[in-house]
């Protein structure tokens, strides 16, 4: 007797259809799962056998073979428990085989027959929808993720017997109501708002320009200057995410198992802070079963690296490829996993190991020590930081002063206007932000007038600029001009862009 049911495996953050086929035939009694499966999938047979027993079904004394097809893609995770159990029951004729047609099932089983929370439900349902499936069965603890995909009926079950009753039609379960619109529409606030930051006007300006053109930014300043707070505020001045972006980001978090019932969608732009002891794998993702790293968790948001000279060189260099491509490719045996990693990098560092340079009355470092500190960041990495600004220590007087400061909303509006201008400019091109402009686009969109050209010539000879720096300044000046709403790049924009590159 042969039966099958559809389920899904996870590769990267994408799901692929897996047909769970079961056959029960006479022979030496046994339970085998085949189909290029990982350790946790092999263990499914013990969970399934016990869960079936504890739900009141005893396995026949026969040879049970389960195949997860296609057989040439590595499968991992615990989502196959429920479909395996269902297809076994279908073979045992507890469920009629036709009832399983057009059904997608995923979920981990506990020994008691309870269906537990499973990682990656969101991308699986999105895959099922694409595959034309009409009905999905998922664990009830993952109902949040199930409720944000539209045009597909998602049913939640909390135990194996409930699933059987549902499939056989003994029990009616109402499909989940779509919460996508309501979730997307919920007004939200960021925990950190620019209205909390007093003083720091240079850094605020830098952050605004960075957000407007999605430029990577490095903040240099003494300890206690508030670099981390500024970084945390940056997502709040970026435009709200579109539906597509929300789903993409949520898929990453689903694979990491980081979505909750209460917040099934990531609607705030992510802010991910990586510690300086992070390894390259924790940053870009990897592992025997590839998992998304910090760069993918920061997809469409901000990745913050504090104290970058303290990061291992290997870890920093590993960021270069995702910074360049916006995706991470991880190759494992025959598979290539792709994780999205389109993030804005915000880095912070002290000006010297003690943090007080250039105040020579307080700085205790000598030039060798400082040079060694600086040299920990490689030139190519520095090249990817479009903006490098100074964050200053704020005096207590400034913090207590009642001067009104702009809140994130006001800044966000200006940033969104700049984004609109860029969207129109790059319509029909593969890029959408100034920071992504290559040399060809720069030549096309950053034309300078005669006066500006002379200024740029003077500046480049004064600063002994390389061609790369020259282009970077043009790119930055384009964003500054977009923020100011001017069509051409003005002298002022160029002058400010040079300063934001702060000496590098």
């Amino acid at each position: 007797m042969f039966c099958s049911v559809l389920s899904g495996g996870i590769r990267g953050i994408e799901s692929f259809p897996v047909n769970v086929e079961t056959d029960i035939s006479p022979g030496l009694p046994g339970f085998e799962i085949v189909g290029y499966v990982g350790g946790e999938v092999k263990e499914a047979k013990d969970r399934v056998r016990t869960a079936l027993k504890n739900s009141g079904y005893s396995l026949p004394v026969a040879r049970i073979t389960v195949n997860l097809s296609p057989g040439d893609i590595r499968k991992s995770g615990t989502a196959f428990d429920l479909p395996v159990a269902l297809s076994v029951l279908a073979c045992m004729k507890v469920i009629s085989a036709e009832k399983l047609e057009g059904i997608f099932a995923a979920g981990e089983l506990s020994l008691s027959g309870h269906v537990c929370s499973t990682k990656g439900i969101l991308p699986m349902i999105m895959m099922a929808k694409e595959a034309g499936v009409k009905r999905c069965i998922i664990p009830s603890s993952d109902s949040g993720e199930g409720s944000v995909v539209e045009d597909i009926d998602v049913f939640c079950v909390s135990s194996l017997s409930e699933a059987v009753e549902f499939v056989t039609g003994k029990k009616k379960i109402a499909p989940l109501e779509s919460r996508l619109c309501s979730e997307l529409g919920t007004p939200f606030d960021y925990e950190n708002d620019f209205s909390r930051i007093r003083g720091q006007r240079t850094a605020r300006r830098g952050a605004e320009i960075a957000a407007a053109g999605l430029h990577n930014i490095l903040m240099m300043g003494p300890p206690g200057a508030g670099k981390t707070l500024i970084a945390k505020c940056i997502p709040s001045i970026m435009p709200p995410m579109s539906e597509e972006e929300c789903l993409e980001v949520s898929a990453v978090y689903s694979v990491r198992g980081a979505l909750t019932k209460e917040e099934p969608l990531v609607i705030r732009r992510p802010f991910v802070s990586a510690h300086s002891s992070s390894t390259d794998i924790s940053l870009v993702g990897g592992g025997a079963i590839p998992r998304p790293g910090a760069v993918s968790l920061a997809h469409k948001g901000v990745l913050f690296l504090d104290e970058i000279p303290e990061f291992s060189r290997r870890a920093l260099e590993s960021l270069r490829q995702p910074l360049e491509d916006g995706v991470v490719h991880i190759t494992r045996n025959r598979d290539i996993c792709t994780f999205p990693a389109d993030f804005m990098l915000v880095a912070a560092m002290n000006p010297c190991p003690c943090g007080n340079y250039p105040d020579l009355n307080r700085c205790t470092c000598d030039s060798t020590k400082r040079a060694r500190y600086m040299s920990k960041i490689s030139g190519p990495f520095m090249d990817r930081m479009d903006i490098c600004i100074l964050a200053e220590r704020v005096s207590p007087f400034d913090i207590q002063s009642g001067d009104p400061v702009e809140d994130s909303k006001t800044i966000r509006e200006r940033v969104m206007t700049a984004h609109e201008i860029q969207k129109r400019r790059f319509a029909g091109l593969k890029i959408s932000f100034n920071s992504q402009m290559g040399n060809r686009e720069i030549e096309r969109f950053c034309r300078l007038g005669d006066k500006e050209l002379t200024l740029m010539k003077d500046l480049s000879s004064k600063h002994e600029m390389s061609a790369r720096t020259y282009y970077r300044i043009l790119r930055l000046a384009r964003t500054i001009a977009d923020l100011a709403g001017t069509e051409g790049i003005t002298e002022e924009a160029l002058c400010e862009a040079v300063r934001l590159k702060a000496g590098f």
Binding site: G199, Q200, R201, T202, R205, M220, P351, Y357, P358, L360, N361, C363, D366, S367, T368, A371, C388, I389, L390, E392, L455, D458, L459, K462, E491, E492, L494, C495, E496, V498, R499, L500, A502, G503, F504
Partner: protein
Amino acid sequence: MTDQRIYDYWAATLQDGYIGNIIQIVERAGGARVLYEMSRQEMTKRLGISEKLAAYIEDNRVPYECLEKEYARAGLAGISYVNHTDRDFPEKLKNIPSCPYGLFVKGRLPDPLKPSVALIGARECSEYGRLMAEYFGNRLAKEGVQIISGMAWGIDGWAQKAALDAGGRSFGVLGCGPDIVYPSANRSLYNRLCEDGNGIISEYAPQTPARPRGFPPRNRIISALCDVLVVVEARKKSGTLITVDMAIDQGRTVMVVPGRLTDDLSAGCLNLLYQGALVATGVDAVLEQLNIKRQMSISDIREYKTEKEPEDLLPAEFMRIEEVLTLDPQSIGQIASKAGVSESEAMIILTKLELQGISKEMFPGFFVKIIKKLLC
């Protein structure tokens, strides 16, 4: 090339690990060759030196063929060996208590007929210190004064660079072999000091690496080679003060560039002034100590500061920012709030002032004023 020279060269290499007077030991032994061939027991018995020193000398007894090769290799690298008995060995150096046995020289030795000034100071100098080092280096070099210093990072390097830029002569005394560039960041200065009548001087043999113990002894050579020692910036416990002590022992005139009471970098200088060092009020004061009449007519420092060149009239905000700038580094934020302009405006104006050579970014985000006129 005689055998004698090779043995002298060998005796000079002993300076690496022994700070005492090698000349005396060699004289007592009756020549470098005799010392080379002496056994350890003989050394302790006849020369009355300690076991330890005898062992050191024996350990450093390199085979003669190797010495010959080393000597030839130094010659090929443009390094000449000057023995203390040679005619061109600096007379000034012979008279100090611990005269080196010989010197390794790349380029030339200072001209004994010309006045020499040593300009020394802190490695981590301030913008003010840098300006003063450049001012003295530049102006003294233009008066034909030779600038002696340690080629170190900071005051030493700036003073020597300024002297070379002014077309003068400068000599670097190193605490490592004359073929080792230390600090390596000063490579371009090193290269310039090797040619055009300038020189690199060391009492250590070629290939001797830079180690902390090599530097204090070299200070006695700096102070010995100069007529006047000028200290630009020194902290309370600075290595520069060792040089000053040696200069005083050797009877050299010590002059100090004053700084502010609040600057840690001037604490050592002010202390020296309190103890009675002369104040270097300007190039004239130094020249007076050297008994030189100025060849060119140049004005005193104070005049430079007050005198204003007719400039293109700058817009009001530019003027305000220019007034705010000082020799102390200030951040863009500080400058903007003092001048009463926005950060963006300050960035724009600072860039334009930088193009006009009025301001300079000395560290990312920090600006200082440039006082050009001191150096023309």
